[in-house]
């Protein structure tokens, strides 16, 4: 079976065989750093991560009591600092 697919970097590759074989083009090493930086958060993104979130309620309550501050609670149905 001959398959033709467009792949990641605008090239076209052809290969034969019935077994599943990845058609994604290899990543050129020269593009590695650029891609790595492109995928990670950019300056100005993920502002929420600039907030020093506590994840232990008791710690948060003790800190709030000691400092005379209220607690801002963000409740999420997933890990708010991880995958959500």
């Amino acid at each position: 079976m001959l398959r033709t697919v467009s792949c990641c970097f605008g090239m076209v590759v052809c290969f034969a065989g019935a077994d599943p074989v990845s058609a994604a083009a290899p990543i050129p090493p020269a593009q590695f750093q650029n891609l790595h930086a492109m995928i990670k958060p950019h300056v100005g993104e993920a502002r929420w991560a600039e907030v020093p979130w506590l994840t232990d309620l008791w710690e948060a309550r003790k800190k709030a009591a000691a400092e005379g501050k209220p607690i801002l609670v963000r409740s999420v149905n997933g890990d708010p600092l991880g995958c959500t």
């Binding site: 990543i27 309550r61 801002l72 409740s75 149905n77 995958c83």
Partner: protein, 326 residues
């Protein structure tokens, strides 16, 4: 991810300054208990006071008085705090009761002793007219073609001590190539190459790894470091015939790892994965193929509580997440 960006984008620099200066910020996954009965009792008190405990924001006192909830209106909520009697606000005014014994049942898993933790970011990408990849500012989704911010999703990869140590051969020689251990390869494929940029698409099953080949090649050896290059490719698809699969990800990987010989630890573990994803968010109206990228790296200066359990441990439990050796 976009969902998080929608909510947390309420924070502009002034909002962040306000939170840091005037609040103790606390966040939690309300589906996962802390393991302390006292914490649950406190949340029940908040709920009785009007706080919504699901996907929500609210401001409360350390004693459990709700000052504002639902629509995010931090300045108004802080005004409610300012209006409390001084006796309720001053430092040390509230005594925090003991929260009781710890019950480890159903709490988030901890990484195995000696585990290597990697940060994993994923982002939906686009191609320009020349085929070059770029990171879009927003995605258009749904029947309404709503534009939502394209913020990267994040997750964490755990490798057991035995696994990460197995990446360095006993007698490393430049030019030596060998396959990445199956447990690592499969864990990356199943749990860390799933599209989560718009929320929770399903993780991949073992059967959905239609093809995967990850190879490490040593390209530098000295008394101080061993450098390795990772080359990989994988085809993840909901059907054996990828052309008929409703969902799939056809991906290439490239990585550069550096092992610190004197310290017996990795000081670089950078990996990029890029390929076309389709079908993961068809229900969102995003039914086209589009490039999806992942970036892996070692944590740098994160506080311990910022290193979260992998999503796969939530879906499959710790044992299911780690048991990827076949």
């Amino acid at each position: 991810m976009e969902g998080r960006a929608l909510f947390f984008d309420l924070f502009n620099p002034e909002g962040i300054r306000l939170v840091k200066a005037r609040c103790v910020p606390f966040t939690r996954n309300y589906l996962v208990p802390s393991g302390y009965a006292g914490d649950e009792k406190f949340f029940q008190k908040l709920e009785a006071g009007g706080a919504r405990l699901g996907n929500s924001w609210f401001l409360c006192t350390a004693s459990g008085k709700v000052l504002g909830t639902n629509d995010f209106a931090l300045r108004q909520w802080l005004a409610a705090w300012d209006n409390l009697p001084e006796a309720e606000r001053r430092p040390g005014a509230v005594n925090i009761e003991d929260r009781g014994p710890f019950d480890p049942k159903n709490v988030p898993p901890q990484p195995p002793p000696g585990a290597l933790i990697l940060k994993v970011y994923s982002r939906g990408l686009e191609r320009d007219t020349t085929g070059q990849l770029y990171a879009p500012q927003a995605f258009r989704v749904g029947v309404s073609k709503t534009m939502i911010k394209a913020e990267p999703q994040r997750d964490f990869l755990w490798l057991t001590e035995a696994e990460w140590r197995s990446l360095i051969p006993p007698q490393p020689i430049a030019g030596m190539s060998f396959p990445v251990p199956v447990s690592i390869r499969n864990r990356i494929c199943r749990f860390h190459l799933a599209n989560m940029t718009l929320g929770f698409a399903p993780l991949w099953s073992r059967e959905e790894i239609r093809f995967a080949e990850f190879t490490l090649t040593i390209y530098h050896v000295s008394s101080s470091s061993i450098c390795l290059r990772l080359d990989g490719a994988a085809q993840l698809a909901s059907a054996p015939n990828i052309t008929k699969a409703k969902r799939g990800y056809d991906v290439a990987l490239l990585g550069f790892l550096e092992y610190n010989v004197p310290n017996k630890s990795f000081r670089r573990f950078d990996i990029v994965a890029v390929g076309d994803d389709w079908g993961s968010f068809a229900s969102y109206g995003l039914d086209r193929r589009y490039p999806l990228g992942f970036a892996f790296e070692l944590p740098r200066n994160e506080a311990p509580n910022q290193l979260r359990p992998p999503r796969g441990t939530h879906d499959y439990g710790l044992a299911g997440y780690l048991n990827t050796g076949n």
